[in-house]
């Protein structure tokens, strides 16, 4: 790709990158920083981009690494927030009766794979992730979107593995409920 064409293509990707970074970092300054670093890295590494993958996929891959670097730099601030979050009372406990069994059964989701092809479903999933409390959203995205190991996440956030598993569990419970309410519930006609 020619330099000018690359510049232009990267410029067009910038708003998308910024949106992703803001969602992840929840801090505009950090988001601007990682996007700038990503664009510089993309320009510097342009010869490595062989055009074998889509430009966007390649640049988002760089962005993920930059976001992880940012997590490492700010792990102290994050861990304080995480500890506060972990102490928060959980409304989903209401799902279970005192004996640990369900108050209401979990319905099947039919054929959820078909939802994956729908842009609207992915928007709802994104909205559900955005609605998570900040520290739950962050740890969940580190695990499921940045695909980091739990060991690595615990270390970066300065939390114990147990705490890490509990937070991921809480994030998943909330997301399940959010998708149930906003997508799958409708499909079931409830």
């Amino acid at each position: 790709m020619q330099d000018t064409a690359l510049n232009q293509a990267l410029g067009q990707l910038r708003p998308t990158l910024l949106k992703i970074a803001r969602l992840q970092l929840r801090n505009d300054t950090w988001a601007e920083d990682v996007v700038s670093e990503t664009l510089i890295a993309a320009l510097e590494g342009a010869q490595d981009f062989a055009g074998t993958s889509q430009l966007k996929t390649w640049v988002v891959g760089i962005l993920k690494h930059k976001i992880i670097d940012q997590f490492r730099r700010t792990s102290r601030e994050v861990s304080v927030e995480a500890a506060v979050e972990a102490a928060e009372a959980e409304s989903y406990e209401e799902l279970f009766q005192a004996n640990g069994h369900f108050a209401n059964p979990v319905p099947a989701w039919g054929n959820p794979e078909s939802a994956l092809g729908e842009a609207q479903f992915l928007q709802i999933l994104q909205a559900c992730v955005d609605k998570l409390p900040a520290s739950l959203g962050r740890i969940f995205m580190m695990r499921e979107w940045l695909e980091q190991d739990t060991d690595e996440i615990c270390k970066e956030l300065g939390i114990t593995p147990t705490n890490c598993f509990v937070m991921l569990y809480r994030a998943r419970m909330r997301l399940r409920e959010c998708l149930q309410l906003n997508w799958f519930g409708e499909a079931l006609g409830t």
Binding site: N99, L122, F165, Y169
Partner: protein
């Protein structure tokens, strides 16, 4: 051993189904979960939904 009862409640099974996505469970826990899922539709659905959630997350930002 994990200190878990032989027969898990749904709440315990849910927690372990989630945890299994983040670490390899010890054999005892894995068998308890499997036993529970054989008998429990709700937790089986939950497990399917957790696996679906993982694959759906890989699609975001693409």
């Amino acid at each position: 051993m994990s200190g878990l009862p032989l027969r898990l409640s749904c709440k315990e099974a849910h927690r372990l189904v989630s945890e299994e996505l983040d670490r390899a469970l010890p054999l005892g826990e894995r068998l308890r979960v499997r036993m529970h899922l054989l008998a429990c539709g709700s937790c089986t659905h939950f497990k399917q939904q957790m696996q679906f959630l993982r694959s759906a997350m890989r699609r975001l930002g693409e």
